[in-house]
């Protein structure tokens, strides 16, 4: 009893410390979540664009399937492809442009004040990003699914393992996507303008990440190369697993995405520490 008391006390203090440490990020996340719910009109205008893209891609793939005279391409039926595209297109069109905020903060010098605040700049940005991303993705996904029900009919993959496996990989993919863009955006400390970097990154994920076409359909050796590159982790891996679930693929993808998250996260913190060292402020 005499030994158990201090242990209990120290563990309670530890939990309190952890709670205190993460509470600020949790609050930033909740505020961002509420802010995004307040602007539902913006979300609805985004769905117009998503609906348009889905319509155009539906026309493209219907034409391809009818010209091939085949029910399946690389194991994908037309229905599979259309629902695969829902996930990749929703992922792309709901990406918050937080890099513009970072760019503005660096250019205006506001970052000097932001970095002095008692939170880690990267985790704070992530909390705000996540709040925005979740609301945008959830609304777009529901509305896009309604559009796709009309364009392609109900999905053939509605099983619990598909949905949970896909959700898990999308959570990792969202984190990787954030870290990649954060790393590019923070380069504004050295480069004059980082919008071109972000544009090239998003375009590479578009082609090599399987946004427009599932990578299995690409000709070889391009398909194998694209699957091996990390661009495929953010869109192809989670969307493919959701549509065509396999336990082995879940394990392999979790490992690849998990390691990538850790590497990019460590790199982000290291770059941020370099930024803080380079920072010089003038009083006034």
């Amino acid at each position: 009893m005499a030994v158990a008391q201090p242990l209990k006390k120290s563990s309670t203090v530890g939990i309190r410390r952890i709670r205190k440490r993460f509470l600020k990020y949790w609050l930033a996340f909740v505020v961002s979540l509420r802010n995004n719910f307040a602007y539902l009109g913006e979300a609805l205008s985004r769905i117009c664009f998503l609906g348009l893209i889905l319509f155009v891609l539906a026309q493209l793939w219907q034409t391809v399937y009818s010209s091939q005279g085949s029910q399946r391409l690389a194991g994908f039926s037309l229905n599979d492809i259309m629902w695969y595209l829902i996930f990749t297109e929703t992922f792309t069109t709901t990406r918050p442009a937080f890099h513009l905020d970072i760019d503005r903060e660096v250019r205006s010098g506001e970052l000097a004040y932001t970095l002095a605040r008692p939170y880690n700049y990267m985790w704070y940005q992530f909390a705000v990003f996540l709040g925005s991303r979740i609301v945008r993705m959830a609304i777009s996904l529901v509305l896009a699914a309604l559009i796709m029900l009309v364009l392609a009919g109900p999905p053939a993959f509605l099983r619990i393992e598909n949905l949970l496996g896909g959700l898990w990989l999308f959570a990792l993919a969202i984190t990787i996507d954030f870290l990649a863009i954060f790393l590019l955006a923070i380069q504004s400390f050295w480069a004059e303008d980082t919008t071109a970097f972000i544009l090239i990154y998003t375009r590479l994920t578009m082609i090599l990440g399987g946004m427009l076409v599932p990578l299995d359909i690409l000709p070889e050796p391009l398909a194998s190369i694209a699957k091996a590159l990390p661009f495929s982790y953010v869109m192809y891996s989670p969307a493919h697993l959701t549509v065509k679930f396999e336990w082995a693929e879940l394990g392999e993808a979790s490992l690849k995405l998990g390691i990538t998250t850790l590497v990019l996260g460590a790199l982000g913190l290291w770059v941020l520490s370099r930024v803080e060292r380079r920072l010089s402020t003038n009083g006034g």
């Binding site: 391809v64 010209s67 480069a191 303008d193 919008t195 544009l199 090239i200 590479l204 082609i207």
Partner: protein, 281 residues
């Protein structure tokens, strides 16, 4: 302050813009040069934006190359036709954004009361508004289009002339449609998001083969969202030049320009200044 400009006065202002066409062209050339010099002042940003757009366009080119190598006969278009579509559209959008780069900001300028400056200056309001900034990434589109044309076609001055002419008309259609979309702000209030969606629509439809669309959608592309006049008809002219079709394109372009001017000035009559005092940077 209320803008009391009738469509007739607006039309006359456009036909005889403060001293005639020559003076207006000099005004345009001076603005263009100044916009370019301002942007070149931030050289690294300028180069990175141009290279970024160039890479973006070539990545799309790569996508279509891969797509047609996998499905050569899909959509009734060949790879060459699709690349021509991209050459004409990229050059058209590039020219529109380089010369009339401010058109895309009309909605936000009106909504934030920034239009007062243009009303006070003795120049054609719409023309002045459109040319007063440049979208730097447009140069990436222009370089891409010229490079892709060089790769796609053997040196052929006559074909180059056709491509330049139809791309110029494409630029006029894009810019006019952009003015129409942005002018919605006069009627609907803050409608930037809607205007942007409308612009996304025309750009998206313009960069996919028209053979994908049938029936009502095709009709829409020749009327409400004039992607057909911005890219499909120009591409058809590059593939096979036909004087009748060219005349039809000129007529359609004139109608779209007329609509843009009419809608903008009809909206301008509803504009009421917020008497905002601001420094113009």
């Amino acid at each position: 302050m209320e803008a009391n400009i009738s469509p007739a006065a607006a039309s006359s202002q456009l036909r005889y813009p403060n001293g005639g066409l020559r003076r207006q062209l000099v005004f345009l050339a001076n603005y263009f040069k100044t916009n370019l010099l301002i942007n070149l002042e931030y050289r690294v940003a300028f180069i990175s934006k141009v290279v970024g757009m160039l890479v973006n366009d070539f990545i799309w080119l790569f996508f279509w190359f891969v797509f047609f190598s996998r499905f050569p006969s899909a959509s009734g278009y060949s790879l060459r036709d699709t690349l021509t579509l991209w050459v004409v559209t990229a050059l058209g959008i590039g020219l529109s954004d380089a010369v009339f780069g401010n058109s895309i900001h009309i909605g936000s300028i009106v909504a934030t009361g920034g239009l007062d400056y243009y009303l006070a200056v003795p120049k054609n309001v719409l023309f002045h508004l459109c040319i007063s900034s440049m979208n730097v990434s447009a140069w990436g589109d222009i370089i891409f289009a010229l490079a892709a044309f060089g790769i796609l076609y053997q040196p052929d001055p006559l074909l180059l002339l056709v491509v330049l002419t139809v791309s110029f008309l494409c630029a006029v259609v894009f810019n006019s449609f952009c003015i129409i979309a942005q002018s919605l702000v006069f009627f609907l209030g803050n409608s930037e998001a809607l205007a942007n969606q409308i612009m996304f629509a025309i750009v998206t439809f313009s960069t996919y083969p028209d053979s994908l669309f049938k029936g009502g959608v095709k009709l829409l592309l020749y009327t409400l969202i004039p992607a057909a006049w911005a890219s499909y008809v120009p591409v058809a002219l590059v593939r096979h030049f036909d004087l009748g079709l060219f005349g039809l394109l000129l007529l359609a372009t004139a109608v779209i320009v007329g609509l843009a001017i009419g809608i903008f000035y009809a909206g301008l009559r509803r504009y009421e200044s917020g008497n905002l005092i601001q420094m113009r940077s």
